[in-house]
């Protein structure tokens, strides 16, 4: 018998099943593809073709190029995360939590593994490791693509400040992790991946936008919308990068500090609620 802690054992077990699941790689691949396409490819094509009207209205060609060169990586890293990245991480969390109910794998684990709490904490830790990996790989891809742009344009490479890079990587992790943990909670709540993934996508991509729209004319709805995860993730990224309106989901609805605190509250509350449900509910 191993001397490692139950949580560490459960984390290793969960990482093993996660890394061998093609669905996990498909979701991560979809994010990296979207990030490359919307973050670099379209901007570069727009710049190279000289057509300033293409999705970058208001930005000069010089600004466009600066954004996709290495010094623009910190801002670029986080801009797709409040909406697309977050939605895909929420799908990932919902899949990893919800699928085990239908397949009966939670039941199997609870009858012969460590405690339910240790098993769930291990699973949440494994999800966190995956999200951290996704953020780092996204950073590496962004750096690689920006270096590619610099090489194509024979532009001098100006590296971003290490502090900026670290700060934005931290923000990226907070935003992506928040969505992943909310997805995990939805997977536990719905006890299945289908309903939770569907709800998550509709919520992240549609409902929050609608509520923010309605909130412009209704004070109570506006106050409610300011508590929502997407609004706060978007406001955190918008506030910290100072770029709102350029990317979907990046907004300035909520003050940056308040947005940061709200994101952290979601990061703490979502796993705690999921753990409470896992501990208390009957497994049928």
């Amino acid at each position: 018998m191993s001397t490692t802690t139950p949580v560490l054992r459960a984390t290793r077990a969960d990482l093993l099943r996660a890394r061998r699941w093609s669905a996990v790689w498909i979701v991560i691949g979809a994010w990296l593809f979207l990030n490359a396409l919307f973050g670099y490819v379209f901007d570069y094509v727009t710049y190279a073709s000289g057509d300033e009207s293409f999705s970058n209205e208001g930005q000069s060609r010089a600004e466009l190029l600066a954004g996709i060169l290495p010094q623009g990586v910190p801002d670029h890293l986080v801009q797709g995360m409040p909406l697309f990245g977050g939605a895909l991480m929420m799908v990932l969390g919902a899949l990893l939590a919800g699928s085990g109910f239908g397949w009966g794998t939670w039941k199997t684990a609870y009858t012969q593994g460590p405690s339910r709490t240790a098993t769930a904490v291990g699973s949440l830790t494994s999800l966190t490791v995956v999200v951290a990996g996704v953020v780092l790989v996204t950073l590496a891809c962004d750096l690689a693509m920006s270096l590619g742009v610099a090489a194509l344009q024979s532009h001098d490479v100006v590296w971003p400040a290490l502090g900026d890079l670290a700060k934005m990587t931290g923000v990226a992790f907070l935003v992506m992790e928040m969505w992943a943990l909310i997805g995990y909670l939805l997977g536990v709540l719905a006890r299945g991946p289908a309903v939770s993934v569907g709800l998550a996508l509709v919520w992240a991509l549609v409902v929050e936008n609608l509520l923010r729209g309605v909130g412009a004319s209704l004070g109570a709805v506006e106050a409610f919308a300011k508590l929502l995860p997407g609004t706060n993730a978007g406001s955190l990224v918008g506030g910290i990068t100072g770029t709102t309106g350029d990317n979907p989901g990046v907004i300035d609805t909520v003050d940056t500090t308040r947005a940061l605190v709200t994101v952290v509250v979601y990061l703490v509350v979502a796993p705690l609620v999921a753990l409470a449900l896992v501990r208390r509910r009957d497994v049928t």
């Binding site: 054992r9 077990a13 093993l16 039941k107 609870y110 012969q112 593994g113």
Partner: protein
């Protein structure tokens, strides 16, 4: 002293439930079940579909909370972390990741328990899945899935193994192998709590049996006790005089008349010493004795006698 006995000579109880009850709304799924499973025995849990077997097992494993009553496993509350670590279970079908191979599925469980891959390979070999362990779970037949479920339950040599219908989906050869495996486990000191609808299987491998119907535990005893003593089948005539003599020997409620096209017969239980007395009494009363044979009740007959009453009650 037996290796499985405690110091005071009493058998060590691996599972003990007290008035275990589970209610879903108006429906009483399990009604005050008190059962015991001892170390080193194979305990058969018998009952018709919907009797409450799986619900009881789920409570014993800590998967669901009882509405009232309690279950202790290995001396601790059911479902406690230090209990599940010493328990293996296959309950209501095997639950595995379909995209992983059989071996990788067990590796996931082994990682959770801190076991090596050697333990995984041993468990796979023990259920005869060694040759197919690198196939994906979703490609397995029903029987292979069931074997993998049993292999998972064996991981880490748990002290209690709970198997819910373990021979489901197995071919006759696989069923025989599974029975041999279960017997072997008990011989090694592990307690096996087994639910089954196959009475012959229970009769063959179980030391003790609990019969459950309508959520209530009707009886708990050894298979031999449950089947009762030997039974006499008497073909004699005239029937009314033979019946009167038989009732004097076995009591008014101790005789049944078995009707058939080949002729009616009397079924009654008397001790070995009572047989000559019965024959003498029949002859003395002028009864013609055509045939007298000793039979043993099968578990199936006992089971149906017990559960039929309960089922009728439920229907009413």
């Amino acid at each position: 002293m037996n290796a499985h006995d405690t110091v005071d000579g009493a058998p060590e109880l691996v599972v003990q439930t007290h008035d275990l009850t589970k209610r879903y709304g108006d429906r009483l799924a399990v009604d005050a079940v008190s059962m015991t499973v001892r170390r080193g025995e194979v305990y058969g849990f018998l009952g018709p579909n919907g009797a409450g077997k799986t619900t009881t097992l789920r409570m014993v494993l800590g998967l669901i909370r009882p509405t009232s009553g309690s279950a202790s496993v290995l001396g601790r509350p059911a479902g406690a972390a230090d209990v599940t670590a010493r328990t293996g279970a296959l309950i209501e079908g095997p639950g595995f990741f379909p995209y992983l191979t059989g071996r990788a599925n067990l590796q996931v469980l082994a990682r959770m328990q801190g076991l090596s891959d050697t333990a995984v390979d041993e468990a796979l070999d023990r259920v005869g899945l060694g040759g197919r362990s690198r196939d994906r779970f979703k490609a397995y037949s029903l029987g292979m899935k069931q074997r993998l479920g049993v292999a998972a339950a064996l991981l880490g040599d748990p002290e209690l193994i709970v198997l819910d219908e373990p021979t489901n989906g197995l071919d006759p050869g696989g069923m025989a192998d599974m029975r041999a495996l279960v017997t072997d486990l008990a011989r090694g000191g592990q307690a096996v709590l087994l639910s089954s609808h196959l009475l012959a299987e229970v009769e063959e491998i179980c030391d003790r049996v609990g019969v459950i119907a309508g959520g209530r535990l009707l009886t708990e005893s050894t298979v031999a006790e449950l089947r009762g003593g030997r039974r006499l089948r008497v073909v004699a005539g005239p029937l009314d005089r033979a019946l009167a003599v038989a009732m004097r020997a076995a009591g008014d409620d101790g005789v049944r008349v078995e009707r058939s096209d080949d002729g009616d017969a009397l079924l009654l239980e008397v001790g070995d010493d009572g047989v000559p007395d019965l024959v003498r009494a029949l002859v003395a009363e002028g009864v013609d004795v055509h045939e007298i044979t000793q039979t043993e009740r099968t578990l199936e007959e006992v089971f149906f006698e017990m559960t039929a009453d309960k089922t009728l009650e439920a229907v009413r």
